[in-house]
Amino acid sequence: MAKSKNRPSTEINASSMADIAFLLLIFFLVTTRMAVDKGISVVLPPWSDEPPPETELQDRNAFIVVVNSHDDLLVENEITDIKDLKNKAKRFINNKGEDPTLSDNPQIAVISFRGDRGTSYERYIGVYNELLAAYNELRDEYSNGTYGSIYNDLDSADRAVVKKLYPLRISEAEPLDYGEH
């Protein structure tokens, strides 16, 4: 009995622990992917069988953006480079009645975006992204001037105020069908 007291404590050999951990690591590397759940959020209009009602919309309050099947961009009947699109859209939305060819105010200004069934998705998203960027920048500019921080950092009450001033009004029209095939 006395013998066991003096026995040196045996160490557990941990060298294989690394191998086990490596196996687990490699398993996770193979079966998982990086979490990239980001995207451009859109709310579709509800489905109705009836044709949409004719809305009384003055020409100056509609900003027509068309992309054809060759990915060319037409803004208000002018061929435009995508680099200029955001600033044009911002000028249109934030006109507040100054220029008679642009919108009356941001609340009734509508951007109508129409593609073609042959437009490439990359181009479509690129243009949509610019239109969204115009709205986001206007909101940021306003909230920076009024509340001193960007739109996303505002609390929900202030955010609702800005949202009411600059409502997101982009309409994705049914695409034309000239050049899918």
Binding site: F22, F28, K38, G39, I40, V42, S120, E122
Partner: protein, 155 residues
């Protein structure tokens, strides 16, 4: 003085590997936290476009995915873009049923928060996407998200 001379062996001591498992475990935990399980095996090309105005999707359990792109196996399926739902190709008309299934698998209180993430290959023509969107409208799945990669440079 020789009394204090310590005896040294000529061979270099082995490097202790006792902390190696800990390092690997840290790596392991990093990957477990920052990644998610692959749910489907892709059968279509799926290079997402790049955009700047991205929003993060709220909860993964409330998100359904629809993949669109030209098939990877072009000899078998041709090169026209196809829709992939779960693990199989589908027709446009199947989208409504797919959404109904996804809804049925959700807790009842969460069903109205269903979010559809459209993962569309950037080379696809938007014709097929439009058809999918019409089906989603008919199925009353109105919250959608065009999945895209972030891009830092602006025009």
């Amino acid at each position: 003085m020789a009394k204090f001379k310590t005896k040294r062996s000529n061979t270099t001591p082995a490097i202790s590997t006792a902390s190696l498992p800990d390092i690997i475990f840290i790596l392991l935990f990093f990957f477990m936290v920052s990644t998610v399980m692959r749910e489907v095996s892709l059968k279509v090309e799926n290079t997402l476009p790049k955009a700047t105005e991205l929003k993060k999707l709220a909860k993964r359990t409330l998100v359904s995915y629809i993949y669109v792109g030209s098939p990877l196996n072009k000899k078998l399926w041709g090169s026209a873009p196809k829709i992939q739902l779960n693990d199989a190709f589908a027709e446009v008309g199947d989208v409504g049923l797919f959404i109904a299934h996804e809804r049925a698998n959700m807790p009842e209180s969460k069903r109205r928060f269903l979010n559809v993430s459209l993962k569309v290959d950037k080379k696809t023509k938007i014709g097929i996407l439009t058809d999918v969107k019409q089906e989603l409208r008919k199925a009353n799945a109105l919250r959608i998200s065009y999945a895209a990669f972030p891009r830092s440079e602006v025009y």
